[in-house]
């Protein structure tokens, strides 16, 4: 099993960061405009992605496993690309000086496939979108996300 790990520090109140990870409006403002479902334990969030020309690229369905306000969020992928199904995504937050530190983990990939390399870089880009949303009021969610390669 292999993991994608990231860390960003966001100059914003911890509870605002938590809200951006646990409300449909928050998630839609930094990850993908097309976010459906409900962020409650046992609920399923549905994230769909489109190319700049409007064609659908696919998406992910995440079951919400844990919600600890201001501290931690844990999702499990229940639908999406084969490599993602069964993997878990955790968000751990803590305050340090002016920063809300976000520790991100996309856990339990079966193999370090090429697609995992892509997703690792892309997660960093979306974490910077989350940071920008909280610090400036404006994220870069799909379909207006920063493109990193031919896979978007």
């Amino acid at each position: 099993m292999v993991d994608i790990l990231h860390r960003v520090g966001i100059k914003a109140p911890l509870n605002e960061v938590y809200k951006a990870l646990t409300t449909r409006e928050g998630l839609a403002a930094w990850w993908t405009n097309d976010t459906q479902g409900e962020s409650k334990v046992g609920g399923v969030l549905n994230f769909r992605f489109r190319a700049p020309d409007g064609s659908e690229l696919g998406g992910f369905e995440m079951k919400v496993l844990e919600l600890h306000p201001g501290e931690r969020v844990l999702w499990q992928v229940v639908d999406g690309p084969a490599e993602w199904i069964g993997t878990k995504i955790s968000w751990d937050l803590r305050q340090e000086d002016d920063y809300c530190l976000v520790h991100f983990k996309h856990l339990d990939w079966k193999e370090p496939v090429e697609f995992m390399h892509h997703c690792s870089t892309k997660w960093a880009i979306f974490l910077m979108s989350l940071k920008s949303l909280l610090e400036t009021g404006k994220g870069s969610p799909s379909p207006n996300d920063v493109k990193i390669d031919s896979w978007n």
Copy 2:
């Protein structure tokens, strides 16, 4: 042992990307302005980093282990932060349609420490700097790199 993995696609000739990874001028234009040493097998490259106020943050010394023109570069860290020493950094390039695909690996971290999470995100930022250098002529090397947290 744990690894940082990334992938970016760069719309540029493969040999130009290879040059940006294997010349002092190229490396200085996307990673850190203060790059010394020689990119030859057995040689050592010295990368120093400064904060925006000019104070030195530290740096890395890399021994060049492999150079395969247009294909692959392999470094080993011989000096720098304790967690980096002994780790290896590989760059594998291949052409696919309009893109030079760059597969990046920072291999053999002993533990998935918090600093590794930071470095994973920061590598993605520098890979976007490399992409920008090749596609637009302008990278964002340190000290003008994008800051991601209180560790820079």
